[in-house]
């Protein structure tokens, strides 16, 4: 059984520390993949002053735990960590961390991308950009919905 850790909150995370906690000294995880999503400096106007991340408390944790469990059922994972921040974030700040550990590198890669693709379409977070004057909600992207689709069986509706 994969060890699954989910955390949602305003606090920043430390990749090195989360990685160390994930694998510790155990020698089963021959492959660890980490994804870090960060605030980019482009979108509204030329300059995003602040990105506000809203979420649906309670449901976010539940949705992330389900996505991680689905990944662990699909690939032979030893451990999964998902950390997602909420609240105001500035360019270059970290938003999301996904860590997947496995004996096999392709399992760790694929499970990690699977978790991010589902997180982007199923976990209730919303971004609002503001440049100090104007604020606007970020639109969902078709490319994210398509990325999620690729994990469905071919005969899915």
């Amino acid at each position: 059984m994969a060890r699954i850790t989910i955390r949602v909150g305003p606090d920043d995370f430390d990749l090195g520390r989360e990685y160390a906690a994930l694998v510790a000294d155990e020698a089963d995880s021959g492959a660890v993949v980490a994804f870090v999503g960060r605030v980019r400096d482009l979108n509204l106007a030329q300059h995003v002053a602040v990105l506000e991340l809203e979420h649906y408390p309670g449901m976010t944790e539940k949705a992330l735990a389900r996505i991680a469990a689905d990944a662990a059922a699909r690939w032979p994972l030893t451990a999964v960590t998902v950390v997602h921040r909420v609240g105001p974030l500035h360019p270059a700040e970290q938003i999301v961390l996904v860590l997947t550990a496995s004996a096999h590198r392709h399992a760790a890669y694929d499970a990690n991308a699977f978790i991010m693709d589902y997180l982007k379409t199923e976990a209730p977070f919303w971004k609002r950009e503001s440049d100090g004057n104007t604020a606007r909600w970020v639109d969902a992207r078709d490319s994210d919905a398509e990325a999620m689709q690729r994990w469905l069986p071919d005969d899915a509706p």
Binding site: G58, M59, K62, A63, V96, K120, E122, F125, A140, A145
Partner: protein
Amino acid sequence: MNTVQLLYFARLRDVFGLHSETLTLPEGSAVADLIARLVARGGAFADELGGARVFRVAVNQEMARPDDPIPAGAEVAIFPPVTGG
């Protein structure tokens, strides 16, 4: 009649000017019945939920489809497509 707690998030909360409300629905109502009732209010509700715009519904914090039933005492959230990560 069943009592249902409605929650709105993100852009929908802004355009409805409403964080949450409590409604009573006939027993056996599905998600589609609730949406039809909100659309009947007209205004922003009709614009957002009655046309081509895409939205999502969660019942008791699980993503739901139009024909999913709404249990008594349910927490039903309506929100735009998600944009986290």
